[in-house]
C-alpha cells in the first residue's frame, strides 16, 4: 500500500497549469461578446507513465457588448495538436442577456497526449457564433452552430408557449403537475453509453452474433415536410453499422438539411433514443417531390450503464428537424411529441430542462416569474 502511495505521490504529480502556454482565447475584434475574466482555478496537469493528462476547468465571464439581446452562444474549442481534427464546441442556449450584462460559460475538458509531444498552446478557444433575440446570427459558424442554436431557440419558444398556455388554462397547480410529469419522464428515461467508430466494427463478434440487416420502422409525424420511406442498418449484438434511410420531400420548398432520430428496441423490450442520422451532403438540395438517401459509414456500439448486456432487436426512426433552402427550420410540435413512444424516449428540449431545473431548485413562483419575462 505504501509502495502504491509512493508511486502515486511521485508518478502522478498534479501540477497547476500555466494558462499562457496551454490555452489561447481568440475572439474576433468585432465580436458582440467580450471576455471580461477567465478563471483557470482548478486546471492541472498530471503525468501518468509516458502520458500527460491535462485537465482544464475554466469559467469564462463574457459581456454582451452588442445592443441586442443574446439568446445563445457557442464557443469553439480546438485541440488540433492533441487529436487530428479535434474540434469541439460548448454552447449555452436559452439565454436572455441584455446589452452590457455579463454571463458565465464554463469549459471542462481533458487532454491526453504523450509526454514531450508538440509545443505551443494545446487548446484554442474561439467564438463560433452568437444568436440574438431576432434570430440573427454573428460568427464564423464552423460547427454549424447557427442551425443548432436556432433549433434550440425555436424549441424554447415552442415550450414556453406550451407552459404559458397551461398556466393560463389550469393555473399554477396545472403548471406544477406538468413540471412534475416532465421531471418524472426525465428520471425514468434511460440513456445508453455509445461508442462511435468511423470505419470498421467497434469490436470483433462471435459467430453467434453474425451481422444481419434490420429494417427501420417509422413514426409518421403528420405535419413533417419530409417522409422517411425505407431504411436499414447492419446489426450485430449491441452494434448497428452503416444505417441508411431513404426520404421524400413532401413539402413545396427545397430542403438543404434534415435529421432523422432513431430509436432502438432491445430483446428485453427496452426502448432507447440511439441518436440521430443527419444528412451529410453539404450541397444537398432536395426539391419538392424528390427522394434522397442518407447513409452514415459509421458503427455505433451501445451499452447500458453498469455493464448490463444489450442486444438490438428493432429500429425505428422519425424526422426530428428539417432546414429549407431559404434558411427556415421545421421542428416537431408539442402535439407530435406527445406520441407515447417519443414522450418516453426523447430528452426534453434544453429550455424544458432549464425550466424544470428552475422549478426544482427555486419553486413554482420563480418558474411563473421566469415565464412572464418572455
Amino acid at each position: 500500500m505504501l509502495v502504491v502511495g509512493g508511486v502515486l505521490a511521485a508518478g502522478a504529480q498534479p501540477a497547476p497549469v500555466q494558462p499562457a502556454s496551454s490555452f489561447k482565447i481568440n475572439f474576433p475584434a468585432d465580436s458582440p461578446v467580450a471576455v471580461v475574466n477567465a478563471d483557470w482555478g482548478e486546471s492541472r496537469t498530471t503525468t501518468l507513465g509516458g502520458a500527460l493528462v491535462l485537465e482544464l476547468h475554466s469559467a469564462l465571464s463574457l459581456r454582451n457588448s452588442s445592443q441586442a439581446r443574446i439568446r445563445g452562444v457557442t464557443l469553439l474549442v480546438l485541440a488540433q495538436e492533441v487529436t487530428p481534427g479535434g474540434k469541439a464546441s460548448v454552447s449555452v442556449p436559452s439565454l436572455d442577456i441584455r446589452a452590457g450584462e455579463t454571463f458565465p460559460v464554463r469549459i471542462d475538458l481533458r487532454l491526453l497526449r504523450p509526454v514531450g509531444a508538440g509545443g505551443g498552446p494545446l487548446v484554442e478557444i474561439g467564438l463560433d457564433g452568437v444568436l440574438f433575440d431576432n434570430l440573427s446570427f454573428y460568427g464564423p459558424n464552423r460547427l454549424n452552430s447557427r442551425r443548432s442554436m436556432t433549433v434550440w431557440e425555436l424549441e424554447a419558444r415552442r415550450d414556453r408557449r406550451h407552459f404559458k398556455s397551461i398556466l393560463e388554462a389550469q393555473g399554477p397547480e396545472g403548471l406544477r403537475k406538468e413540471m412534475l410529469a416532465s421531471l418524472a419522464r426525465q428520471t425514468e428515461r434511460t440513456n445508453l453509453d455509445v461508442q462511435v467508430t468511423r470505419r470498421g466494427r467497434a469490436t470483433a463478434v462471435a459467430a453467434a452474433e453474425r451481422e444481419h440487416p434490420v429494417q427501420f420502422a417509422f413514426l409518421r409525424l403528420a405535419e413533417a415536410p419530409l417522409e422517411p420511406l425505407s431504411g436499414l442498418a447492419q446489426v450485430s449484438g449491441n452494434e448497428a453499422r452503416a444505417p441508411r434511410i431513404e426520404v421524400l420531400n413532401r413539402s413545396d420548398r427545397p430542403i438543404r438539411y434534415f435529421e432523422i432520430g432513431w430509436i432502438i428496441k432491445d430483446r428485453q423490450g427496452g426502448q432507447f433514443l440511439a441518436g440521430s442520422l443527419p444528412a451529410s451532403d453539404p450541397s444537398l438540395k432536395l426539391g419538392p417531390g424528390q427522394k434522397s438517401q442518407v447513409v452514415e459509414e459509421a458503427t455505433l456500439k451501445f451499452s447500458r450503464r453498469m455493464g448490463q448486456p444489450l442486444a438490438i432487436e428493432a429500429l425505428s426512426g422519425f424526422v426530428s428537424q428539417v432546414e429549407f433552402a431559404d434558411g427556415h427550420l421545421w421542428i416537431p410540435s408539442r402535439a407530435a411529441l406527445a406520441d407515447p413512444l417519443l414522450e418516453r424516449v426523447l430528452a426534453p428540449s434544453p429550455e424544458e430542462q432549464r425550466l424544470t431545473g428552475l422549478y426544482r431548485r427555486r419553486g413554482l413562483v420563480a418558474l411563473v416569474n421566469e415565464l412572464k419575462k418572455f
Binding site: T83, V92, F103, D108, R113, T197, A298
Partner: protein, 188 residues
C-alpha cells in the same frame, strides 16, 4: 480538512484498507470537492485501463532490475553510515517496521522523480487506429492512438446525450449557474 490527493487516488482505485476506506467514504459522500476529485481519478483510471495495456516502447525488465538495485543500494548505504556494531543487539521489530517501508518509499519516489519517461511512440505496435468517439454521462471523448480529447460534464448528475457518425452532444443543467450547457465533439 480534505484528505490528501494520494489518499483520494488510493480510494478511487479501491486500494485503501477497510477503516481508511470507510472514513474516506464518509468524507467523500458529503464533500463535493473530494467527490469530484475521486470521480476524476476514476475516469483517468478507466481510460488508462481501456488502453492496450501498458505504454508501448518501455522495456520493463531493465527498469525492474534498476529499481531492485536502487533499493539494495539504499539499504547498503544505510548500513555503511551506521555506527560499527559494538554490542550485538537485536533490532526491535517496531523500528524495522517503521524504517524499512519509509526507506522503500523514499527510494521508489526518488527513482520515479529522476526517471524521465520515454515519449510514447505513436502506437507503432498496434498500427494506426481510426477515431473512436465515446459518449457517457461523464464525458464525450475523442480518441486516436495514444491521444485523447474529452469534454467533461462535471457539474450535473443528469446528463443527456445524442450521437451520430459526425459527432456527439451532451447536455446538462449547470448546478452552479442554472444554465443549460451543451458540449459537442465532432469527428469530422
Amino acid at each position: 480538512m480534505h484528505p490528501s490527493e494520494a489518499n483520494l487516488a488510493l480510494y478511487a482505485g479501491g486500494e485503501l484498507g477497510l477503516w481508511a476506506r470507510m472514513r474516506m467514504a464518509g468524507h467523500v459522500s458529503c464533500c463535493e470537492v473530494c467527490s469530484r476529485q475521486v470521480e476524476e481519478f476514476r475516469g483517468i483510471r478507466e481510460w488508462m485501463q481501456s488502453q492496450d495495456g501498458m505504454p508501448a516502447g518501455i522495456d520493463w525488465g531493465p527498469l525492474a532490475a534498476e529499481l531492485k538495485a536502487n533499493i539494495r543500494l539504499g539499504l547498503a548505504a544505510g548500513q555503511c553510515v551506521a555506527p560499527a556494531p559494538q554490542v550485538v543487539r537485536p533490532v526491535s521489530g517496531w523500528r524495522a517496521a517503521v524504517v524499512l517501508p519509509i526507506l522503500l518509499v523514499v527510494v521508489v519516489g526518488w527513482w520515479l522523480q529522476s526517471w524521465a519517461p520515454p515519449a510514447l511512440p505513436a502506437a507503432k505496435s498496434a498500427g494506426p487506429r481510426g477515431l473512436v468517439l465515446t459518449a457517457s454521462p461523464r464525458a464525450i471523448e475523442l480518441q486516436q492512438d495514444d491521444r485523447a480529447f474529452a469534454l467533461l460534464s462535471p457539474r450535473s448528475a443528469e446528463v443527456t446525450f445524442s450521437v451520430s457518425g459526425q459527432g456527439a452532444r451532451s447536455r446538462y443543467v449547470d448546478s452552479e449557474t442554472g444554465y443549460v450547457t451543451i458540449s459537442h465533439v465532432s469527428t469530422q
